[in-house]
Amino acid sequence: MQKIIEMAEILENEEIQDSIFRMTLSLPEISRMAVSGQFINIYTGLGENILPRPISINEIDAIEGNIIVTYQVVGKGTDFFSKCPVGCELKVVGPLGNGFDLSKKYEKNIIVGGGIGIPPLVELCKHIEGRKFVFLGAKSKPIYEDDFRNLGAEVFICSDDGNTGMKGNVVELLNDIQPEGDMLFSCGPKIMLKYVSKWAAENNIPAQISLEERMACGIGACVGCTVKIQKKGDSDWQNLKVCKDGPVFMSDEVIWDD
């Protein structure tokens, strides 16, 4: 798929929860090409931060030509983004990676999101036609609960501190609700994905999970962002690139190191 460099005007940049920002970027070209589960590379322009920041696509508005991203301030780059005023321009490269595989339709879809892994699942949810069971977890309050409901999903919530929904993590929530599904989609912290994958395997549900890894190029050139993947039928694992071969992988092909 073609990738391009585009200067994005910031149309909105709002703190929707403590240190989590929702930013609307005018990206006429990239928004036309992007699909759910892909990400974009956003440059800070700061001299000390030379690498772009990979951020998932939260929503695509191809008509207005916008891409919405939701990011958490964790370091210098995201802090810089949070301080960029509306009207300011950011350099963006995208769309990057392969999205979720939506070539087949499923009757029952399980969607599991954790923390700052929730955003890409919103766009995903728009493109799923069957029943959607959405499980969201966070420290205190998962973002975008209402968005999923508005997209017709049945939403289940948990939080580490019990502030919203069940007190516990999404795997406990899954065990609690025991949803049925033909396909599971998930994005969130690595440790969560590992246990969600285990849950899916135990319940014989195929799962597409979206992984993260530290990146340099984001386009498959530097071989920096690998995960160990053992393709079905292969006798050995190989290091595949999250940015180009992923970020979405079938959970039963991932080798979990730690």
Binding site: E48, G220, C222, G224, T226
Partner: protein, 303 residues
């Protein structure tokens, strides 16, 4: 600009301009072809290739540092066969030269890959004896002068293309290593490879890289690279390909003035996917504005 001649010649291979890519930062060119016209680059230096596939190191392999980055890719590559079947045909569609960066764990492996690539449709080989991420001897190869001479001499026997030897900057005296490579038979030298660096995640209380230590590259390392290119160009007669932190055409000119015949664009590709061609354009503009007909007029102009 018709009277400007940007061509450079290394070991009889003529390049349309002095810009090439630093091995490992440009893939085989395919990944960047969305952003740049590969015909505009003097030569593409591809990522390190070994005789058999290498899996590389564990992740995380990338860490950002002030003005640069660390990597511990560990020369992951799908091996010579895959490279010959896939990457060469792709690059052959373009009007550019092909430099293949070759790596091995042992002298035998180096000779193997040199022999294999000598029969492939490529222009030059670049011997990477300096990757800090290869544990089984890679370090020793590149940092001890008699070892350097020995490896180069052995590889030369199997190498039927012009041989560039790529030097590690993690040494006390780069000129001694450069001279050893030339004694061994190097037709050209390229430098610098990455410095050895480390970054610690103080929250997790462990190194960011799974490999702990990695190769440090990017604009932050440029002063070390310029210094070494300058020192090496003063003490050997073979052409030098300069690299290390080049992000714009002024940086490129700096290396040329230090004595480099060609320059490679590495980490800059991650900062700006169009870096290579913008640098080629910038060099042309500089020549035009300063009335330079041929880069030999400024090459090594610093005493």
């Amino acid at each position: 600009m018709t009277d400007i001649d940007t061509t450079v010649n290394i070991c009889g291979i003529e390049m349309k301009n002095p810009v090439t890519t630093a091995s490992g930062t440009f893939g085989s060119g395919r990944e960047f072809s969305d952003f740049v016209d590969i015909n505009r680059i003097g030569a593409v230096t591809v990522k390190g290739v070994s005789s058999v596939p290498w899996k590389g190191n564990d992740s995380p392999r990338i860490a950002e540092v002030y003005g640069g980055m660390l990597n511990s890719v560990g020369l992951q590559n799908p091996g010579a066969k895959w490279f010959i079947e896939n990457d060469i045909p792709f690059l052959k569609k373009y009007d550019t030269k092909i430099i293949v960066n070759i790596c091995g764990h042992t002298i035998g492996e180096y000779c193997d890959i040199a022999e294999i690539m000598s029969d492939a449709d490529v222009d030059m080989l670049e011997l990477n004896i300096s990757c800090p991420n290869v544990r089984e001897g890679g370090i020793a190869f590149g940092t001890v002068a008699p070892m350097v001479e020995k490896v180069v001499k052995s590889v030369k026997k199997y190498c039927k293309k012009p041989l560039i030897v790529k030097l590690s900057p993690n040494v006390t005296d780069i000129t001694e290593i450069a001279k050893a490579a030339v004694s061994g038979g190097a037709d050209a030298l390229s430098l610098i490879n990455t410095l050895m660096g480390m970054k610690i995640d103080i929250k997790k209380r462990k190194p960011v890289l799974a490999n702990k230590i990695g190769g440090f590259s990017g604009p932050a390392i440029k002063p070390v690279a310029v210094r070494m290119v300058y020192q090496v160009c003063k003490c050997v007669d073979v052409p030098v390909i300069g690299m290390g932190g080049i992000i714009n055409s002024d940086d490129a000119i700096e290396f040329i003035m230090a004595g480099a015949t060609m320059i490679s664009v590495g980490t800059a590709n991650f900062m700006n996917p169009k870096a290579t061609t913008e640098i080629a354009d910038g060099i042309e503009k500089f020549m035009y504005e300063n009335n330079i007909k041929n880069l030999s007029e400024i090459r090594g102009i610093i005493d």
